[in-house]
């Protein structure tokens, strides 16, 4: 596997992208930066490395391996949560985590106002919840789409209640006057839904501190970073939560396929690495065709609990139909990263409605379909291997020696 790598989840999230990105940053050739190309503070990528565990949200999962993170303009940035995450990382021994971060000026800002509005809406849905994480992601995107809309208009199935303004972006944080104007408009817009929320003056001051503490970039930062070495593009969520391809309304307002990463790369070649577990999982509401409570019962999750807004953790047999369609939605993958290979007694559903079949050798099953480039047998970094060449159906090419190790 040479050059840049795009890591994308082939399921409903929780495939193991975090540990795969960490393994690529730790075991492969030197990585110049991890680039986030979608999602925001709702990402939860678990990395376990030698007794240290962190659930990455806005920082890239290469942070414990010492690799900087770039948040591209496709990312939604929530500074308050970012600060909390930097404190958690500092507590794990990462020196100056905010110093490892650069953020594109064009990235949308998720504010406490968006978060409150998101929760107010999801609460109002009652039993018809979408499985939102309650972190303001959808609200941030929705508000950014309202330019020119008027009260009473319907944008993306939601009625516009007030007069929207331009969406606040990271670049505004360094310009208090511009930021204040945008936040004032935002606060007025959401007042009917959430009342008088966090004070704008407070947010302006806070975001100014944020702008001083992280490097804000303009122009083709990804191109500049690419000139320094390998980039690992870390996707958030999975293809089946994609805003265009997932099962509505149980989707996230984000392009989870490699499309954003490809666009940022501007034609530079990259390996697309699809991440999958050896079984299917899903957080919260929405379809999971091969769901079987017995699977969830067999593989308890250490780092995935039921979220107040997100809902329960669910699991089922590996769904070969969804897997291949996910690969197709990515425009094909160059290889797979297969995690949870330590799980035993697995079954796979190979066509819709068929009974689950036994899958005695999961690695062999995957390798017959696509080259396996990363294997993960457990939660820890030590249980992951970046393979020098793909692991194909012919066992002879199984080269488990990790690069650089």
């Amino acid at each position: 596997m040479n050059g840049h790598v795009i890591v994308v989840g082939l399921g409903f999230g929780d495939e193991g992208k975090g540990s795969v990105v960490d393994a690529l940053c730790h075991d492969g050739p030197p990585v110049a930066s991890v680039v986030r190309f979608n999602g925001g503070a709702q990402a939860a990528h678990n990395v376990v490395a030698g007794g240290r565990h962190h659930t990455f949200s806005q920082f890239g999962s290469g942070t414990l391996a010492g690799v900087p993170t770039h948040l591209s303009r496709h990312v939604l940035v929530e500074p308050i949560a970012l600060a909390a995450e930097s404190r958690e990382l500092a507590a794990l021994g990462v020196r100056d985590p905010l110093g490892l971060l650069s953020v594109d000026a064009g990235a949308l800002l998720t504010t406490p106002l968006h978060v409150r509005a998101n929760r107010a809406r999801e609460d109002a849905r009652g039993d018809a919840r979408h499985g939102s994480c309650g972190k303001g992601i959808g609200e941030t995107v929705w508000y950014s789409l309202l330019a020119g809309a008027r009260p009473g208009d319907v944008v993306e199935h939601q009625e516009v209640v007030g007069t929207p303004g331009a969406a606040p972006r990271v670049g505004d944080c360094a310009d208090p006057a511009a930021l204040r104007r945008k936040l004032d408009a935002l606060a007025r817009f959401y007042e009917p839904l959430i009342g008088a929320g966090t004070s704008v003056a407070e947010l302006v001051s806070l975001y100014r501190d944020f702008a001083d503490a992280v490097r804000i970039t303009r122009g083709d930062e990804v191109g500049r970073l690419a000139g320094r070495g390998r980039l690992v593009f870390e996707g958030a969520q999975g293809v089946w939560l994609d805003q265009h391809h997932g099962f509505h309304p149980h989707t996230t307002w984000s392009t989870t396929t490699p499309a954003n990463a490809r666009e940022l790369l501007r034609g530079r070649p990259a390996t697309v690495l699809g991440v999958t577990r050896t079984y299917q999982t899903r957080h919260g509401a929405g379809p999971l065709p091969t769901e079987d409570p017995a699977v969830a019962a067999r593989f308890p999750e250490r780092h995935n609990a039921t979220g107040r807004y997100q809902g329960a953790w669910r699991a089922g047999h590996l769904d070969a139909v969804l897997l291949e369609r996910a690969v197709a939605l990515c425009g094909g993958v160059d290889g797979l990263a297969v995690t949870h290979l330590d799980a035993t007694g697995l079954k796979v559903v190979t066509s819709r409605g068929a009974p689950p079949e036994d899958m005695p050798d999961p690695l062999d099953w995957f390798a017959r379909r696509h080259p396996v480039l990363v294997t993960g047998y457990g939660p820890d970094r030590a249980d992951h291997a970046v393979l020098a060449t793909g692991h194909g159906p012919d066992r002879a090419v199984r080269t488990c020696a990790t690069i650089g190790a």
Binding site: P79, I80, L82, A83, A84, S86, R87, D96, L98, G99, P112, A196, G197, T198, S199, V200, A201, E202, L203, S205, L206, D209, F210, D212, A213, V214
Partner: protein, 326 residues
């Protein structure tokens, strides 16, 4: 002043970002102490000299403002306590509001030193209800000296609050504010007229009996004195007797100075009759202050419900001076 809401997470985030760019919580103190001693002074925003009044006003956003003034001793005998206060007090507003003890708390912070020996014996900020509180705390100069004669100029601070603070809570509703003095020594035997003139700028020509200052102050404020552990005289009975003599059960000993926010919040919750002591402890444990709640419980154990009556509407709002001249 006093617009906006405060939020603990935002406070913590601002601190994190400031730390990342190398601005620490004690930046002002460090900068001032690097200068020669004769140049030490309060930040202009904290200097009481010539201030007509610090105001705690209602606004459209905060129609039922309640003033809370917290002034802490910044002299050497307090050890590391002033630093703890400067770090911890920023979350007080969020704590009070989140627990529903007061609808619209407005906070003012200040520092108390020794008018006989310190360059900066008194600092008082403005009433705020947003992140300017945090700036105010960071702008307090922790001088750290003091005289070593077991007394500090608490009465000078009390005099300022009595004479130079105007609150809508009192003027419009006859409601008392909350004053917390945090320290470890005695009042000076007399409030010297020359100190009032030099530090505050009032043209006072006669020394004043400190106890009479507290009498005047208590007509409009619930006045508390908190003696925190890790200060020099925590176990000195003379300090306890002195303050109990003036404030009765509103003298509070606090064995963990890190629990100051929780103590103040619980005291207000009790005083407002929003909670009883048991419920206050539950509230504090809920917001993650379980260890602190234990210290608070100990500090408040002597405070009976009998002392918690609210004041009636005052007959004359600003009343005559009733200090005793000496």
């Amino acid at each position: 002043m006093g617009h906006g809401k405060w939020d603990d997470n935002a406070y913590a985030a601002a601190r994190t970002f400031r730390a990342a760019k190398g601005i620490d919580d004690f930046g002002y103190t460090a900068a001032v102490r690097n200068r020669p001693r004769h140049e030490w002074r309060a930040d202009p925003s904290m200097d009481p000299k010539g201030v007509v009044a610090r105001e705690c006003r209602d606004s459209a956003e905060h129609a039922d403002s309640t003033p809370i003034a917290v002034l802490f001793d910044v002299t050497g005998s307090m050890g590391s306590v002033p630093k703890v206060m400067q770090r911890k007090l920023g979350k007080l507003h969020g704590l009070i509001q989140r627990k529903g003890y007061l609808a619209d708390p407005q906070l003012m912070f200040g520092g108390i030193g020794d008018a006989d020996s310190d360059r900066v014996p008194l600092q008082v900020g403005q009433f705020e209800s947003d992140n300017r509180m945090d700036e105010q705390l960071r702008t307090i100069f922790l001088e750290g000296n003091g005289g070593g004669q077991k007394s500090e100029s608490y009465e000078l601070a009390a005099y300022f609050v009595a004479r130079h603070v105007v609150t809508d809570a009192w003027r419009k509703r006859g409601r008392k504010g909350y004053l917390f003095l945090i320290g470890d020594e005695l009042n000076k035997p007399r409030l010297e007229a020359k100190h009032v003139r030099r530090v505050i700028g009032d043209d006072v020509r006669q020394d004043i009996d400190p106890v009479s200052v507290y009498r005047e102050l208590e007509r409009r404020w619930h006045v508390h004195f908190v003696l925190p552990n890790q200060s020099a005289y925590y176990n000195d009975p003379e300090i306890a007797d002195h303050w109990r003599g003036i404030l009765g059960q509103r003298f509070l000993k606090l064995d963990d100075p890190g629990a100051v926010c929780e103590l103040i919040a619980a005291t207000i919750g009790l005083e407002e009759r929003v909670v009883d002591l048991d419920q206050a402890m539950v509230d504090l444990a809920e917001v993650g202050s379980a260890a602190e709640s234990e210290s608070v419980g100990k500090a408040l154990v002597g405070v009976g419900a009998g002392t918690l009556a609210k004041s009636a509407a005052p007959p004359a709002l600003d009343g005559p001076d009733d200090v005793t001249l000496r």
